[in-house]
């Protein structure tokens, strides 16, 4: 049963992040997940300082708030200061992360809070923290939280699908049609913020980033249809979760590490595959040409 809960947890994170990841990589913003997962630190510390508890909700709210702050900063530096996207991401999140570290060191004398306990989740512990409804065992708490997140993200993306695609592909045209590019950017980033925050609590920051960029990048290599790209990315994310989990059990190693490795291998295999297909296609074309010329 523990196997099942861990794989389910990873798959829920994989599905949510893969959907968002497809939009992010087409917007050249894949590293925004990295930025958000670090930039939430000051929010978490401040939320802890105010509420004096490590309960999930205040921490989540604090994290989501600073996630939106970093999104705003990135947007601001990129649009108003005309700084490059990658530079905007770099300067914004390191700054917020550093503030978070200073805040922690200021409070560390009398507070039970350190980065490890708030930032880096461990997926193997997920089944330990379970819920019960009316006295019955109802599965791990994280599964409920991640499941709700998936439903929220899925509904939001389905509702706004066309606007999100349009503002991703051609922001100038969208804006000329009266669609607010900035509004939909924040809409997407709010989703990424929420997902990153709830996910790294259970699977760790690195795996969240791997899930956000890897499966979407692999899918991008294999299809030229955006909807198919999303389906494929979700498929790769879930299969990496399953394969990664059993690899970790077999090697008795880190689950998150094994899943992230499988994600990397999937990309490598897809890359080699398309090189092979391309070569075959070219030689086929040349052969056909030679035949018609004869």
């Amino acid at each position: 049963m523990i196997d099942f809960w861990i794989i389910l947890t990873a798959s829920l994170v994989a599905t949510t992040t893969a959907i968002l990841g497809c939009f992010l990589i087409m917007r050249k913003m894949a590293m925004i997940g990295d930025a958000i997962s670090h930039a939430v630190l000051p929010g978490i510390v401040i939320a802890y300082y105010i509420s004096h508890s490590r309960a999930s909700l205040p921490i989540l709210v604090g994290a989501a708030a600073s996630g939106m702050v970093v999104t705003y900063l990135i947007q601001f530096f990129n649009q108003k200061v005309k700084l490059q996207q990658d530079a905007s991401i770099g300067i914004s999140y390191t700054f917020l992360f550093a503030i978070g570290i200073i805040l922690i060191s200021l409070f560390s004398g009398n507070v039970d809070l350190d980065q490890d306990c708030v930032l880096y989740g461990e997926i193997a512990y997920v089944p330990l923290d379970h819920m019960s409804i009316a006295g019955h065992y109802a599965g791990p708490r994280q599964v409920w939280i991640l499941g709700s997140t998936l439903i929220i993200i899925l509904t939001s993306v389905i509702i706004a699908y066309r606007k999100l695609v349009l503002t991703t592909f051609d922001p100038a045209f969208a804006s000329a049609m009266g669609i607010s590019v900035v509004l939909w950017q924040y809409y997407l980033m709010a989703g990424v913020s929420l997902t990153t925050v709830v996910s790294f609590e259970s699977v760790g920051a690195v795996l969240v980033i791997a899930f956000l960029s890897g499966p979407a990048a692999t899918a991008f290599l294999l299809t030229k249809d955006f909807k198919k790209m999303i389906y494929l990315a979700v498929g790769f994310g879930i299969s990496a979760s399953i394969l990664g989990y059993y690899t970790a059990v077999w090697l008795a190693g880190s689950i998150a590490g094994a899943i992230a490795t499988v994600i990397g291998l999937q990309f490598a295999i897809a890359f080699i595959y398309i090189q092979f297909v391309r070569k075959a296609h070219i030689s086929q074309t040349l052969e056909n040409k030679a035949l018609t010329e004869v």
Binding site: R162, L166, F169, D170, A172, A176, T223, K224, F226, K228
Partner: protein
């Protein structure tokens, strides 16, 4: 007759340097209007300011005597081809369909009428055989045709086109100008950013000559003169010598081989 586009003191400033400065004009309807000027003279900025993509620092513009917000579905904008990532996973049909659902609400589906418009637009630019082609596999000229089809699908009255002739082959350029003329004949107004002086006289009946500020605006026969072009293009010698050649041949309309 109602004016198509009018601007009043339109000014856009990037980094303290004005991209367009105090632009004031009123353009007629039912004509193919060229926006000409050297590189960096603010041609694209002018279109973006009219479309509300860039907020002007000073001034305002009106379309068909109304605020853009009220006539948005009568106006179509064709961005520069290079402004989007053509590796985006989408088909020709997907891109043209954007012209139909851009102004629809979140929950409206494409109707039969929408599908008919998409097909008709594709056939007008001779792209029907490529309907299901991935956009990453198109040539520059085909990409431009797809953008035009998307604009046609909007069935607007005013079209603002940013450099539709850049990087397209001669055949596509001819096909596009023929299409623009037939749109004009159907009563549409076309505002086209263009930089090739050699073809300008043939393509446009009306012109806006721009060099950050407005140099001249009026019927081509009145504004496409040596003095005005010299003022617009300043001391760029190669361009000026081309202009001289064009003006010499003025009485002999240019023909394309």
């Amino acid at each position: 007759m109602k004016p198509s586009v009018e601007t009043h003191n339109l000014t856009v400033i990037y980094d303290k340097k004005p991209a367009i400065w105090n632009i004031d004009f009123t353009l007629p309807t039912g004509k193919i209007i060229g926006i000409m000027g050297p590189n960096g003279s603010g041609k694209s900025t002018l279109l973006k300011a009219i479309m509300g993509i860039i907020e002007p620092n000073i001034g305002y513009s009106k379309v068909f005597d109304q605020d853009l917000e009220d006539v948005r579905n009568k106006v179509s904008y064709v961005p520069q081809r290079q402004s989007v990532d053509w590796d985006f996973p989408a088909s020709v049909w997907d891109v043209v369909a954007m012209g139909r659902y851009a102004t629809k609400g979140l929950f409206k589906r494409l109707t039969k009428e929408d599908h008919r418009m998409i097909e008709e637009s594709l056939s007008k630019v001779n792209m029907t055989p490529f309907t299901n082609r991935q956009i990453s596999q198109l040539s520059g000229g085909q990409q431009q045709r797809v953008f035009l089809a998307r604009a046609l699908a909007q069935n607007a009255d005013l079209y603002l086109m940013d450099e539709p002739f850049v990087g397209v082959d001669a055949a596509t350029e001819q096909a596009i100008i023929t299409l623009l003329k037939s749109m004009r004949d159907a009563g549409k107004t076309l505002l086209v950013v263009h930089h090739d002086l050699l073809t300008a006289q043939d393509y446009f009946e009306h012109m806006v000559l721009l060099n950050s500020r407005l140099v001249a605006e009026g019927p081509t026969s009145e504004v496409f003169t040596k003095d005005i072009l010299t003022e617009t293009y300043g001391g760029t010698l190669t361009t000026l010598s081309k202009v001289a050649n064009v003006l010499q041949e003025k009485d002999f309309p240019m023909r394309h081989k």
